[in-house]
Symmetry: C2
Subunit: 364 residues, 2 copies
C-alpha cells in the first residue's frame, strides 16, 4: 500500500474521519462575521479568571469537554491527545492534558499547530496505532501580546500590517470509524525563511512557507489548484495572502479563484485588527466551526487547509534573527464525495458567504 506521494505528501488510505469538532472564542471573534458558527462566545477576555493565561486554559478545557459531549464519548475512549499552543512551554495544552486520562503528545508548530496535530493524529489512526485521537490548540490575544510584544497597557502603535492574535480554542476528534468529513492526504512543510525580520509583519514572513507547501503539494499530487473547492491558509491575513498569490503566480499557479484565509474570514475589517487574524486559534476555530460543518453540509466537496506558523521567539527577534516559518497542509473531503452531483453549487455558496463579510463591513 503506497502511503506517500511524491516528496512530502502522506496518503491516508483508510481516510480517518473527523467525527467531532468544537470551538469556543473570545468576544471579538464572536462579534465577527463567523460569530454565529462558534459553539460558545465568551463575554469577556478574563472569563472569570484572574489571569489571561488561566482564561485561555479554562476555554481550552471546556472546549474539549464540549468536543467529547458532541461525540458522546468519554475521555477514556480517546487513545492520544495531541496539542500545543503559543505560550512558553505550551503550558495551556500541558495543563489541559493534566485533567485528562489520555496519553499526551505535545507539539509546537506556532499557528500551524492545528494542522500539524491533525496530520499526526491521521498517521496514528491510519497507521493502526489509535482508534481515536483528539487534537486541540488555543491562543489568547492579551496573553500572547504581553508575551511576544509589550504589555497591552503600554498602548504601543498598531501598524496596519500587524495581525490580531485570535482568542479562542479549536479542537477536532479523529476516528477510524464513524461519520464526518475525512482526511485523505497531508503535506508536511519544511522550514522556510526568506529574511523577514520584523515580528510585527508575520504575514510577509509566513507567505513563502505557504507558497512552498502548496507548490510541493500540487507537484506531489500532480493536481491543479482547481482540484479543490477551496485552498485556505491559516493566518496570512491581508498582507500575507496578497504575497502568497504573487509568489505562486511567479510559479505559474493561480489561486485567484479559490483561495481564502482564516485570518481574513474571522473579523470584519472595521474591528481594528490590522491586517487580520492570526494565532494558533485562528485556523483552528475557523476549521472546527466553519469549514468542517460546511463540508458536512455539502457546501464543499474537498478543501486543502494550509496552516502557517512563524517559528520565532521574542528572544530571537531581540538577538537580530530573521523569522523561520512553516506551513502544513491537509486535504479534507466531504465524506460522501458527491461533488459531481452537486456541481459547482457549493463553490458559489462560499463566494456568497465571503461577499456577505465584505458587505457587513461598516456595520460595527
Amino acid at each position: 500500500m503506497n502511503k506517500t506521494i511524491g516528496q512530502q505528501t502522506i496518503k491516508f488510505e483508510s481516510k480517518p474521519k473527523i467525527i467531532s469538532s468544537a470551538a469556543i472564542v473570545g468576544p471579538k471573534e464572536g462579534a465577527g462575521p463567523l460569530g454565529e458558527y462558534f459553539d460558545k462566545v465568551l463575554s469577556d477576555s478574563y472569563y472569570q479568571e484572574q489571569t489571561w493565561e488561566k482564561a485561555e486554559r479554562k476555554m481550552a478545557q471546556e472546549n474539549i469537554d464540549l468536543l467529547l459531549q458532541k461525540a458522546k464519548l468519554s475521555p477514556d475512549k480517546i487513545d492520544h491527545l495531541i496539542a500545543g499552543d503559543l505560550l512558553d512551554q505550551t503550558v495551556t495544552s500541558n495543563f489541559v492534558a493534566r485533567k485528562l486520562p489520555i496519553p499526551y503528545l505535545g507539539i509546537y508548530g506556532a499557528c500551524s499547530t492545528m494542522v500539524e496535530g491533525m496530520i499526526l493524529g491521521g498517521t496514528l489512526i491510519d497507521g493502526g496505532y489509535a482508534r481515536r485521537t483528539v487534537n486541540f490548540t488555543s491562543s489568547h490575544y492579551q496573553g500572547a501580546e504581553r508575551q511576544y510584544r509589550t504589555p497591552n497597557e503600554y498602548g504601543d502603535q498598531y501598524p496596519s500590517y500587524k495581525q490580531w492574535t485570535a482568542t479562542g480554542s479549536g479542537a477536532t476528534l479523529l476516528a477510524k470509524d464513524g461519520s464526518g468529513p475525512v482526511i485523505t492526504e497531508a503535506t508536511v512543510g519544511k522550514v522556510v525563511d526568506l529574511g523577514v525580520k520584523d515580528p510585527m509583519d508575520l504575514g510577509s514572513a509566513m507567505a513563502p512557507a505557504a507558497a512552498d507547501t502548496i507548490l510541493q503539494h500540487l507537484n506531489d499530487t500532480g493536481r491543479n489548484p482547481e482540484y479543490y473547492d477551496l485552498i485556505i491558509t491559516g493566518d496570512l491575513a491581508e498582507v500575507g495572502s496578497k504575497l502568497l498569490k504573487e509568489l505562486l503566480n511567479e510559479e505559474g499557479v493561480d489561486l485567484a479563484k479559490n483561495h481564502d484565509d482564516c485570518g481574513l474570514l474571522l473579523y470584519n475589517s472595521d474591528q481594528g485588527v490590522g491586517a487580520g487574524g492570526s494565532g494558533c486559534a485562528c485556523s483552528a476555530i475557523v476549521t472546527a466551526s466553519y469549514l468542517l460543518p460546511y463540508l458536512n453540509n455539502n457546501h464543499y466537496d474537498r478543501i486543502f487547509v494550509v496552516a502557517t506558523g512563524a517559528l520565532l521567539s521574542p528572544i530571537t527577534s531581540l538577538q537580530g534573527e530573521t523569522i523561520p516559518c512553516i506551513a502544513h497542509g491537509i486535504v479534507i473531503e466531504n465524506e460522501s464525495k458527491n461533488k459531481d452531483a452537486i456541481g459547482n453549487q457549493e463553490y458559489e455558496y462560499r463566494q456568497t458567504a465571503n461577499s456577505s463579510i465584505e458587505e457587513s463591513e461598516g456595520d460595527k
Copy 2:
C-alpha cells in the same frame, strides 16, 4: 496486525532501526564519567558565539551534520525531522530545521522530548509514511537557567535537590532498513501532577509520571522489570530516582536491580550539580552516545528508556500552579537479540560501569 498492546503501548512490528546516533556536549558533561563516549566536547559554553542561545543552536546544528555523516546520508534522504527543546517556542530546533531541506514536525515534551521524537519517528516509519526520520533535542545550562530561574550572575542559592540542566545535543536517525539497535515498543505517557509546586524540585515532581508510565508498560505487556537489562529514566536524578523506587515498591514492583538514571550517570557527584543532571539533552546524549553503542556492542540485550519531562513554565510557577509532568517510554533492543548466548554478562558489565562512576568521585 496488532499494533497496540494494552492501553497505552504501541508495537512496532517492523522494528525500525536506529542506524546512527550522535551527541555533542558541554565542558562539564565532557568532564563527567561518560566524557569519552561523546562525539565532541565543547571547550566553553559560548562555543565562539555571542549568546548561549546561539551556542546551543550551533551545537545542535553540528550534531545533525555529524549524525548524517556517520550514516553516510545527505539531508535529502531524510523524510521527517522531529525535534523540540526547552527554549521558549522551541527556537533551537526551529532554527536548526531552517538549515535543512527536510519536512519538520516540531514537538514539545520538555525533557521527555528525545523519546517522544523517537516514538513519533517510529510510528512514521513503521506505519509506512517515512523511510528515515531524524529526531534531535538540546539544552544549555546557562540559557535554560536564565530563562527558567534567574540570570546566572545573580549567584542565587543552589539547593542540593536542584538538578543541573545538561549542555548538549543528542540525535538519532531511525530507518526502515539498515543496521543498528531496533525499537520494538513504546508507551506514551499521560500527564501526572501530584501537587509538587517547587520548580527547583523537578525530580520529586517527575517521579510519579515515571512510575505511572513504567507501571502501565509492565501492565500492558505483562512483563516484570527483569525482562529488561536496564530500565533507565531520563532525568530523575538522586531525589527523583529514590522516590520512583519507593512509589513502585508500593505497587509491588522492585527496580532495585536494574534501574538507572541518565541524570545520575552523566556527572560525578563532586561536579557541583545538585541532585544530578536534567534538561532535554540529558536523556538524549546518554542514549545517543552511551546506551545505543552499548546495545550495539552486545552489552545490553534490551532496555526500556523512560524520559521524563516537567511541563511547567516560569509563568505557571509564578502564578502558583503545581507542576504537570509526563514520561514516555521506548523499548530498544540489540538487533541480534542474542541475550541467551551472552547470558548475564552484559548486565555485570553495566554494574561495573556504574561502579567506576562512583569510584571516580573525588577525582576532580
